[in-house]
Symmetry: C2
Subunit: 352 residues, 2 copies
Amino acid sequence: MSGPTWQMYCPIPLDENGARITLAHGEGARLTRRLIEEHIQPTFDCLELANLPDAAHIVTDTRRLAVTTDCFVVSPLFFPGGDIGSLAVYGAVNDLAVSGARPRWLTLSLIIEEGLPLAVFDCILKSVANTANECCVSVITGDTKVVPCGTADGLFLNTTGIGELVDPVPPGPQSIQTGDRLIVSGPVGRHGIAVLCAREELEFDPPPSSDSASLIDPVAALRQAVGPNVRAIRDATRGGVSAVLHEWAAACDLTMCLREGEIPTSNDIRGACELLGLDPLHVANEGTFVAAIAAEAAEAAVKALQLLPQTQHANIIGEAKVRQIAPVTIYRTLGREQPLDEPAGAALPRIC
Amino acid sequence: MSGPTWQMYCPIPLDENGARITLAHGEGARLTRRLIEEHIQPTFDCLELANLPDAAHIVTDTRRLAVTTDCFVVSPLFFPGGDIGSLAVYGAVNDLAVSGARPRWLTLSLIIEEGLPLAVFDCILKSVANTANECCVSVITGDTKVVPCGTADGLFLNTTGIGELVDPVPPGPQSIQTGDRLIVSGPVGRHGIAVLCAREELEFDPPPSSDSASLIDPVAALRQAVGPNVRAIRDATRGGVSAVLHEWAAACDLTMCLREGEIPTSNDIRGACELLGLDPLHVANEGTFVAAIAAEAAEAAVKALQLLPQTQHANIIGEAKVRQIAPVTIYRTLGREQPLDEPAGAALPRIC
């Protein structure tokens, strides 16, 4: 387990002599039961979990459901603006929200590295529980595995989210048409830069903070404002805004044309990106989405988003045009239209 | 990544110069898309996966569902009788089956250690796909993360299973009554010993083989034979038969009394356990369940199970009695009744 970096943003003081997770906590026997009964169940005040079931039983309001799953391997475990626990909940909830579902249930699986301080474990569980409460989703079942020191990195999480589909479900990127406007819900690149700076101990003051947050309300506001004019929504996580737009361009066979001057970014993220040689459009977000909206509804969509604090900087950043030189292009501030590269990967490992 | 042990039972020849997973495969950009399009989608011939959705959309037949989740960290990745891929599918499917559900959908999340040979990755994906087909469940969505060499151990999997509840759902261990018979569906301890022998390169000939298999048909046969007389069923995974019976004793406040001579075990497992100082009742199974059945229906239950090849050695191994000296007791073959310890853990790490 690495030392200082993952401890720097840990909200609790670390006691070198405090209790730690042992391999025996993962063996499904007495110590596993104690871990569940003394640490997990009291954190999640949930009837389902109280019975330690093989499988949780749920009753849904509709038979049309959305299901999403993600593993979280972020390093460090704590960073400005969040931690692996809140990230794992927002990750599942946001995938459901942008796919047209009301998030309702969550499973939580833990792979713990032997030696993780129990206090850190408790702190992250509490973060999962608080974030789930905030998003009105129930953690209904889970699993705990412990692996020997050196075969994981502190803690990996998996969340699977189940939501109920509510109308209207956006038809998806293949429905994007020439002239549709592209909207981004807030400043881009915050999450990736925040995690990178925390991990590499880059000294920015104040340290860049992640945008990690729930997209439930912004997505609902967008739907209420412009309903069926929403062609596609996607949270711009790994690969950033660029990865989403490249996927969309491939799906609808158009070119996504951006105007650099319209893309919201904060000064600290822009500065860090210049220093690190990164394009903020390639950097992951965890509470920011891209939407394609019919041209006539785009202004109303942006206005509705700007009323919410989290999406007050939402803006129209470009539009879909007939296929040109490249799947995604960008008018740089100095006036030339250039192709925007698809991120190839490897610039920012382990940011979620 | 450890070398020889996890390769020993690998069904494909390993090419030292073959392609390997890199960190860039996990960044959500071009290489991730290629990994998904060229390796994952062709393996899972599934309409849902073809659209690379944030969240898969499903339509259920009933609004009463069961949900289960598990992480798999087994070492080695391949062992006699199975691999991490088939294990991850059977694990989810069996949890659903014993909880009274018909397994239907599966999510699959992967945490891959940088450097894993692509051929091994493909081989395990194929095993997941084949096992899912065998169990009639669809893999509907997934996630891929890559972590740097030395921060995982080859490959970790997570599966979340969703099933539809079918009547009658067993009422559970709190409903167990004095006189109820305890049934085990087959020889105990096979999975844990098979994995342990593979990992530690213990030279038994032939090597002990895991019981890893689907419990869908045996559970269905049990229900059809004795329906509402089934009080509780549980697959005896981590902690073995002993862990299940200790949980049940706590739930119904009775003593689970076993007769050693009635417990099915195979010679190789008994031999290995004696050599290693393990009690087969504490060792994990992955295709064997324990059931509590009303006394009058117990013979019929065992007869129904014995008709299936996988559960041909099913037997009545004891009964529930008023609470005595210990939650679980065992009449040893030599005649004395002794308390059976609850496994405390740590004897067998990373067997699932």
